[in-house]
Symmetry: C2
Subunit: 188 residues, 2 copies
C-alpha cells in the first residue's frame, strides 16, 4: 500500500487529487541494520512502512528493551519527540531492508494550520497510536509473557520469522530460553 492509499483509507475517502494533498511525501530506503532514529535525536519525520520491519528500543538501566515492532502499512516514528521536540529516548532500527515514505514534520504542522482532512488524519492516527500504547500498557500490567506472545502470533505471524528470537524475547521482557520453552510448549 502507498501512503496516499493509506491516507484515503483512514479518511474513508476513495480519492484525494494530488494538487490538494495537504503535505508532501518523500520516498526513502534503509538497509537492514540501519538506524532510522537514534537515541537523543529530535524526531523530524513521520514514516509510513511500504515494506519491511523496524524495532523500537529504549534503554532501561543497563539493558536495552524493545518496546515495539512496526510492520507493513503502519506508521512509526519517535512520536513523543516528534510532538514535544525533546531528544528522544528511543531508537528505531531496520530489522530488514525497508522501503518507507516520510512526511516531514514542518510540512505536517503547516497543513494542520488550515486543512480539515490533515487534522482529521492526524487525529485518527494519534487515536490509533493511543490505543496501541494502551494495549501495550495493559499487557505489561496484566498479561503474562506467554499471553503476549500468543497475541503477537495472532496479529503478525507472517512476519515473526523475520525477527530474531532474542529480539522477540527482549520485547516480551523474558530470557530467550524462556521463550524457547513457551514455543516448545505451544507446538507440543
Amino acid at each position: 500500500m502507498t501512503f496516499k492509499e493509506f491516507y484515503n483509507s483512514v479518511l474513508n475517502t476513495s480519492y484525494t487529487p494530488d494538487d490538494v494533498f495537504p503535505f508532501s511525501i518523500k520516498k526513502m530506503y534503509f538497509k537492514k541494520g540501519a538506524i532510522i532514529t537514534t537515541y537523543g535525536q529530535i524526531e523530524s519525520g513521520l514514516y509510513f512502512m511500504n515494506q519491511g520491519i523496524v524495532e523500537m528500543a529504549i534503554k532501561s538501566y543497563a539493558i536495552e528493551r524493545i518496546i515495539d515492532f512496526f510492520f507493513e502499512n503502519e506508521m512509526f516514528c519517535a512520536f513523543t519527540s516528534f510532538l514535544d521536540q525533546l531528544p528522544t529516548d528511543v531508537q528505531i532500527v531496520a530489522l530488514t531492508d525497508c522501503e518507507v515514505e516520510c512526511i516531514d514534520r514542518e510540512g505536517l504542522l503547516a497543513a494542520y494550520e488550515e486543512s480539515l482532512p490533515a487534522n482529521k488524519f492526524g487525529r485518527i492516527l494519534t487515536e490509533q497510536g493511543y490505543l496501541r500504547k494502551s494495549i501495550r500498557e495493559k499487557g505489561l500490567l496484566c498479561k503474562t509473557a506467554e499471553e503476549r506472545y500468543v497475541e503477537m502470533l495472532n496479529s503478525h505471524s507472517k512476519y515473526l520469522n523475520h525477527i530474531p528470537v532474542n529480539k522477540i524475547a527482549r520485547y516480551l521482557g523474558i530470557h530467550p530460553e524462556s521463550l524457547s520453552r513457551i514455543r516448545k510448549k505451544m507446538s507440543s
Copy 2:
C-alpha cells in the same frame, strides 16, 4: 477554568462565540466516592475537571491497580473505550466532590465531521494523552517508585494530601509501608 476557556487555550484563540462552538457541554456533579465510569461500561462522555480529583483503576489479576489520577483543568474518560466502544477495563472514581463539564461522544463525533477547530482540538488533546501515556510507560519500565513519587510531588504537590496514602502506593505499585519509608527518607 471553564471548559470553554480550556478549549480556547488549547486552540490558542482568545474567544470562540457560543453560536459557533462545535459541540455542547453539560455541567455535572459527583460526590466523593461516586463511580463516574464503571468496569465494563462503554464510555460515552469526555469530562473536563473544573474542581476535584478522580482516580483511574484497572484490575490486574486479583488486585486493583491505580493507573492515573486526574486533577483540576484536566480532561479524562475511559479513553480507549471512548474510541473503540468496547467495554472498558478501567474504573473512574471521585476521590473528592467533583464539579465537571461533560462532552457527549455523539456530539463530538458530529463536530469532527465538519469542524476544523473541533478536529484540531481533538488532535492536540489526543497528542497530549499520548504523551501522558508515554511518560507513564517509561516510568513503569525505567524508573523506581521513589523517582515516580518525586515526580508526583513536583507536578501535583498541592493535591497530594487529598489522596489517601494507600492509593498513592497502589499507583506507584508498592506497599504503603514502602511509601512511608520513602516519605520518611525524603523528609529527613
